[in-house]
Amino acid sequence: MLLLLGEPDDALLTALAEEASRRGADVGRLDEAALFSAGIALRLGAGAPEGHILHEERRLALSNVTGVVLRLPLSWWPDDGFSLKDRLFIRHETVAAWIAMIKSGIRAPVVNDFALNWWLSDPLYRPDLRRSLAAALQVADSAPPGSRRTEYWIAGEAVLASSGDPWPCTGPALAAWRAATGMGLARLDCALDGDGRLAALLDLDPFPPAPADGALRAEIAAALLGGMDVGGRA
């Protein structure tokens, strides 16, 4: 089962669900409240970690998860029936448990497989990602004079342009950066020079809002699922 974790009105998750269904894959979609209140079990011992999720009396073994797309706003809080101190504790423990479920229990691809800094809302995570990708691509982080701005989407192994400019970089640097950071989905704000070469990486959003353009959403969904064996026909 492909697990799509995020809010019900997330248009990118909807595009992914449609694409996955078109490919014949089994899709499960959970919002943050449902996810963090689901039953979970994760076992560690001599063998590989194993466990399951229990949601609305349906049990899903982690070994049957074929992929995860993680777009959680991390805005969940436990019920008001607890004191603030207890709510902090419950939230902390629940998020910690889900980090282990996703990072240790699921062996299928996770998009994005965020570092713990993201889970902990570390404000340095996003600028660090941008800095590391700029270094990997050997480009500046501010726009040189005369450059023009354009936007790209990392979607699995593809880099999609939201305008007409094709992604100008070749070579293994981006793939190595993706592998090192766990990033499979991100929006890049770039500056190109007059010859169409990448001059600067101005911003990197690892948790971008869904693009307004439905065709681009479908393209991103197809590119993402194209690189994942989500268990469907195609």
């Binding site: 910690a96 282990a100 713990l116 889970w119 404000p123």
Partner: protein
């Protein structure tokens, strides 16, 4: 120059600065709990000058020791100030070109205990049979299948003391649905804490009548503590996994079975060195001070990016 970032309300910070003073080290401090005396960080190209709390922005820093203050209140004024200071310091440390002990950005793994345990298992350490769950029936089945006792503790880095799951607290399993809990086989034997400091380590044997020796120590009950011998190669593996996690120091907790098998429980990236020094009498903070002085001596002041 060594920069020590911490809290005067913490035990490690004053003891470490005392050791550095005794050893004649050149150091400056930033006390995150001294809200009366703010500091600021000035950006000058690649360089960062820290001003305030005795820092004049002139002395090049060769290494940094950081052990962030913990918010001891929910007062939003205090937590906002502390958060802002720590974000600013973490940004500074992320750009530092000198050794940082430990880089906060690399110290997150113990936030999720079971995730960290899986990392330790992947690194070749023996780990206890473990279940993390919020399902009562799963917890009961785990406990029933265990031949010996089962302990339980929190799933995150929030301090929770391990307790034996027994008839007196089995009713509390009804609360599991509110938050996941970690259940583990209770490893018979005693505890060993290994403090990694650079490429060396200090091992401390701990034994008490409690499922968690810290509870016995907090209650001022007897805890036997002293130097421990590690099996061949285990100290080196502790150093290696510390390095692999991007850290320079760590505190690894083991349970040691009667046959000598060492089972790892967790790795703390910001150890409470002084707690173990007080219990076991080993010179842990002196070793830490010596390590920091060695890092500082090896630094090149002319290329320092942080000035205090």
């Amino acid at each position: 120059m060594i920069l020590v970032v911490g809290s005067s309300r913490d035990r490690v910070y004053p003891v470490l600065t005392g050791r550095l003073r005794e050893a004649g080290a050149a150091f400056r401090t930033l006390d995150e709990d001294d809200g009366e005396h703010p500091f600021e960080i000035l950006r000058e190209g690649d360089r960062r000058r820290i001003l305030g709390q005795g820092c004049t922005g002139e002395a090049p820093v060769g290494c940094v020791f950081v052990r962030h203050a913990v918010a001891r209140t929910l007062d939003p004024v205090v937590t906002a100030r502390l958060g802002a200071w720590q974000v600013a310091l973490n940004a500074l440390l992320a750009e530092a070109d000198c050794p940082v002990v430990n880089p906060p950005g690399h110290a997150f793994s113990n936030y999720a205990k079971v995730y960290q345990l899986a990392l330790l298992a992947a690194a070749g350490f023996v780990v206890p049979r473990t279940l993390m769950t919020n399902l009562r029936d799963a917890a009961e089945a785990f406990a029933a299948a265990e031949p010996g006792e089962v302990i339980f503790k929190g799933a995150s880095n929030m301090m929770t003391l391990a307790q034996v799951l027994g008839p007196e607290n089995v009713q509390r399993l009804a609360h599991l649905r509110h938050a996941p809990v970690v259940f583990q086989e209770r490893i018979p034997g005693h505890d060993v804490r290994v403090h990694v400091i650079g490429t060396s380590w200090i091992a401390t044997r701990l034994a008490s009548g409690d499922a968690d020796y810290r509870r016995a120590a907090f209650a001022e009950e007897a805890v036997e503590a002293g130097p421990a011998e590690l099996p061949a190669g285990l100290g080196e593996r502790c150093v290696a996994v510390t390095r692999a996690l991007g850290l320079r120091t760590a505190g690894l907790d083991f349970r040691v079975e009667p046959d000598g098998r060492h089972v790892v429980l967790e790795l703390n990236p910001f150890p409470q060195f002084t707690f173990y020094e007080r219990l076991g009498g080993q010179p842990i903070t002196a070793a830490l001070a010596g390590y920091l002085m060695g890092l500082d001596a090896a630094a090149r002041p002319e290329s320092a990016r942080i000035l205090v």
